[in-house]
Amino acid sequence: MSELKLMKGNEALAEAAIRCGVDAYFGYPITPQTEVIEYLMTEQPEKRTGMVVLQAESELAAINMVYGAASTGKRVMTSSSSPGISLKLEGISYLAGAELPAVIVNVVRGGPGLGTIQPSQADYFQSVKGGGHGDYKLYVLAPSSVQEMSDFVEDAFDIAFKYRAPVLILSDGLIGQMMEKVNLKDQKERMSNKELIEKYGSWATTGKTKNRERNIITSLDLQSEKMEARVHRLMKKYEQMEKEDLRYEKILCDDAEYLIVAYGSSARISQKAVELAREKGIKVGLLRPITLFPFPKKQLFELANQVKGILSVELNTGQMVEDVRLSVEFKVPVEHFGRTGGIIHTPEEILEALEQKIIK
Amino acid sequence: MAKVKGAIVVDTETCKGCEVCIPVCPENVISMSTEVNRKGYHYAYMSNPEVCTGCTNCGIVCPDRAISVYRVKVSA
């Protein structure tokens, strides 16, 4: 039986972390996601489940704490917003290289630099094209509701441990701050140390017992052949993610003549724009990528056979639009629309952009 | 009073010829060989084996633990 509550996105995420048996959260205050750590500190989950909550001295320290706990097989996460995620990118690269399961949440705000505290979607490149150095990718989940902020925590950990890889939940300030009804899942027990050692003892650094060789967690491989093998091993994971764990949503695409592609809060607003367009007799559909990596390339390629033009709607100056263009391989015109600076585009603005840039 | 006699065994391929063992030996047992090992290092050896007491000073300062130390009691 689940529990229905009215909650802020950030708080729903925090509560979901406690309920799905997360072992530790390490974070640092930054607007617009500080509620995550504030909620956790107030809830005192060490009394509910023994979950560790620690405010680190910086985002940098927090991601390295995540790295430490993850190297021992614990379920561990951190959250921040854009400038703080930039600080974490070194650690994220290390997590990927050392093949550690962990969840990082980015509640995106306007950038670059110190930027604004209002929502944006300008971290798409950072999230999906690497961000940190080296040959790696992040599995990226983009919630577009408070319900998804809650549900995606457990989903993210399932992926993280399935692949021994870091997972990013890419939210934004609007989703993080808004309040909606959310069905909270039942409390799951945290994994016991005994169970953890049974499941992950082949790689986790929990203390070398007599029955095995020592476990080493590292992303360093000074011998080129070993480094190449390591990176190929990572790439195989990402190929498998693309095959097995792609997620997207199609809304009114079956008879669509035009297509909007949007994720997160832009998808919510675009849904309304689709409604308004349909009232005017414009047959437009919405493709909402739920995972940004893997990206619904095949689905877009197929839709490009059907529609006359595609509008990528993002709260930025044009980032996902490049992947949309790549996916449709120039079969149809692809344009971008989006407000920036923390301004949220309205359904009417999206419809106007569709009419002016795509339908003409 | 029982005396002790000691001896060291130097893993000549591990020894890097750093000579840190020499100043800590109270009996001047150790010298560096004129031979070199596979890596080109002159290795340590007992040039005065009769006076070694097996005190383990050399063993404990050797960064590479190339030295194993032995000691046996002998009646005076």
Partner: protein
């Protein structure tokens, strides 16, 4: 008595601990890292705690510490070992968690992580090998490089006016209430090495007390970086490093000495 009679297995009184692997150490001849590694592993072996010990390796000359220490180890990004160790210790409160760091790792890039782990009083051991130079990258100036000391980035000697004074990180963190035991040791002679081993043992035993950080600084040579022979480097260290980085206990049982 023949040497062959003496070197029988039953007469062995000293050998390499089984908690060091067979991999040849990559450190320069005479480098204190080798001794520091071995002393630490000897302590863990003698305490019988290998099954509950998790080490955190730094970036620096000892980046490959996990190739030599036969225990579970995690590689940390440069300077971040105290944060990594914090999380391991918080999630596994009964484990013996230690970091093993150099002077660049702990006192330059890792300054914040060092200070805050110490301030929080994490239940970990920090082993700090201070040789006043960046060895791995070829001998650059470190926060602990002495005034006037030459390095590849202070080729005319460290100049206080433009480069600051050598940083006494150990004294800084000793003042924090979360720090329980602070000591400065050396490993270049048998006397120093035996004292250092006792200090490392005390540090690991402190973990059971859950009273906070145990911080063991080991002032070491870097004969390659200092461009001397190992024995000359050890003499130079005694004459120059020890007057500034004074050996001995700085804080015991939570009280400054």
């Amino acid at each position: 008595m023949d040497v062959l009679d003496i070197i029988k297995p039953e007469n062995q009184v000293f050998c390499k601990t089984k908690l060091m692997t067979d991999t040849p150490l990559s450190y320069c001849p005479g480098c204190g890292h080798g001794t520091a590694h071995n002393l630490t592993m000897e302590v863990i072996d003698e305490m019988g705690i290998v099954e509950d010990t998790i080490g955190v390796a730094p970036v620096g000359c000892s980046v490959l510490a996990y190739d030599f220490m036969n225990i579970d180890m995690t590689q940390a990004a440069h300077g971040r070992a105290p944060a990594v160790a914090t999380a391991i210790s918080r999630c596994w409160p009964e484990k013996y968690v230690f970091t093993y760091q150099g002077d660049g790792d702990l006192a330059a890039i890792g300054t914040a992580e060092t200070i805050h782990a110490c301030n929080r009083g994490e239940n970990i051991v920090i082993i700090f090998v201070n040789n006043g130079i960046y060895g791995m990258t070829g001998g650059q100036m470190a926060p602990t490089t002495l005034e006037g000391m030459k390095s590849s980035t202070s080729p005319y000697g460290r100049e206080i006016a433009t480069m600051g004074s050598p940083l006494k990180m150990t004294e800084l963190i000793a003042n924090l209430p979360g720090v329980y035991y602070v000591t400065r040791q050396a490993v270049h002679t048998h006397k120093h090495a035996r004292k250092a081993k006792k200090a490392i043992r005390k540090a690991f035993e402190n973990i059971k007390l859950k009273k906070g950080i145990s911080f063991v600084e080991i002032v070491s040579n870097c004969n390659s970086g200092w461009k001397m022979t190992p024995n000359d480097a050890n003499v130079w260290m005694e004459e120059n490093m020890f007057p500034y980085f004074q050996l001995g206990d700085i804080k015991v049982d939570g009280k400054l000495k």
